[in-house]
Symmetry: C2
Subunit: 229 residues, 2 copies
């Protein structure tokens, strides 16, 4: 193919903000860099886009390499192109964010002999490059989006209690929610269904398990909704 433009070109990378929910908190996966620049510092997983792969494919590949997971919620976030964001040269990065349900998967938190770890979103260290800004943009997007799309369910196991669902929303939105209002709102939306099962292995009284209604979920994802809680 003929080159359209022979002037110097920025390099293009993808970086991924991988969120997961554990029992207590919303977590983000970080990688400790082995090489300069920023050697020893924590950073978002990511890498260069190959000339023969789409941006989505590059993000899915990086996600698979970093976590061993595929078929996750993975969405483009924003493209960051400050001129000096990489001290080596001009690099434009297309940022993505992914939502992982830790309960359903064994996540390998290490790859390429690099150190990888989950951090609470409330306790993220300094990050290399402009990755702190990218992380914050992803957290903002997640916080905004759970209010009008049911993407929060991606972070939960297949069957969950109303307590778990409320806890998830409290953690993502970073504020306490009224239990009665929350349950009324969620049940009224019609996107979750009661199962015949109750939770097991709990010290407190076992609660009913729910699962979400995929059809209602898809309808709401397309149409959007307003989860004012």
């Amino acid at each position: 193919m003929a080159a359209t433009y022979e002037h110097p070109r920025p390099a293009i990378t993808v970086d991924i903000v991988i969120f997961a929910m554990d029992e207590e908190d919303l977590q983000v996966m970080l990688i400790q860099r082995g090489v300069a620049p920023f050697a020893g510092e924590w950073a978002l997983p990511g890498g260069f886009v190959r000339v023969d792969e789409t941006l989505d494919a590059a993000a899915a590949r990086e996600l698979r390499e970093e976590t061993g997971l595929s078929d996750l919620f993975l969405e483009q976030l924003y493209t960051f192109g400050d001129i000096r964001r990489d001290p080596r040269e001009r690099v434009v990065t297309v940022a993505y964010y992914a939502l992982v349900n830790l309960a359903g998967h064994a996540v390998q938190a290490s790859t390429d002999a690099r150190r990888a770890a989950w951090f609470s979103v409330n306790d993220v260290p300094n990050l290399a490059f402009d990755h702190k800004q990218i992380f914050e943009a992803a957290l903002d997007r997640l916080r905004g989006k759970v209010r009008y799309q049911p993407i929060g369910f991606e972070l939960l196991p297949e069957k969950f209690t109303l307590r778990q669902l409320q806890h998830l929303y409290e953690i993502v939105l970073n504020r306490p929610l009224d239990k009665r209002n929350f349950r009324k709102k969620v049940l009224g939306m019609g996107i979750i269904k009661e199962t015949n099962e109750i939770e097991t292995d709990v010290a407190h009284r076992a609660a009913r398990l729910f699962r979400f209604d995929k059809k209602a979920y898809d309808r709401l994802t397309r149409r959007g909704f307003n989860f004012e809680i």
Copy 2:
């Protein structure tokens, strides 16, 4: 600076979906291409990102070159990176959308001896590259966003009637709205203020002019709102 990655790199462009509102309809600016590929076809304005300018700066420069305007609402939309979206070579484009108030500005609809024109969003011709897909993504974003951010006001003159405001929302959302509900909702949000003026040069009874309240507007832009109409 040392190059980080010596493999073949995609080129990076910006493309801009420029929306404006005239008396009747929501419009989008298109450029007729003078050269191959797609010579003679309509396309979104755009061009290559220079290695020493940010993505936002590139988009603002293209917007200025195409319309003569600056200081407009200009927001990054999405980055499109399909491998064969440009037949010449791999080109990744960072798409932006801009909102122009035609009443307030004289827009030069021509530049570089190329033909530029406004098209109704309901009457957009075939477009070069994947520009139809980009245009549709921008229209979706605008339609989604006017429901939770007051960005629609960017398309109106400084002073406007409630009829104009309702017409704008009807055009953007592409459906009729109930006049009484609309007025109640808009006035209740507290983001517009009555002026002492009425419209001039109209055949019908002159209506009160309103302007928007910038402080309330900024507050709502930060916090978001839910304009369920």
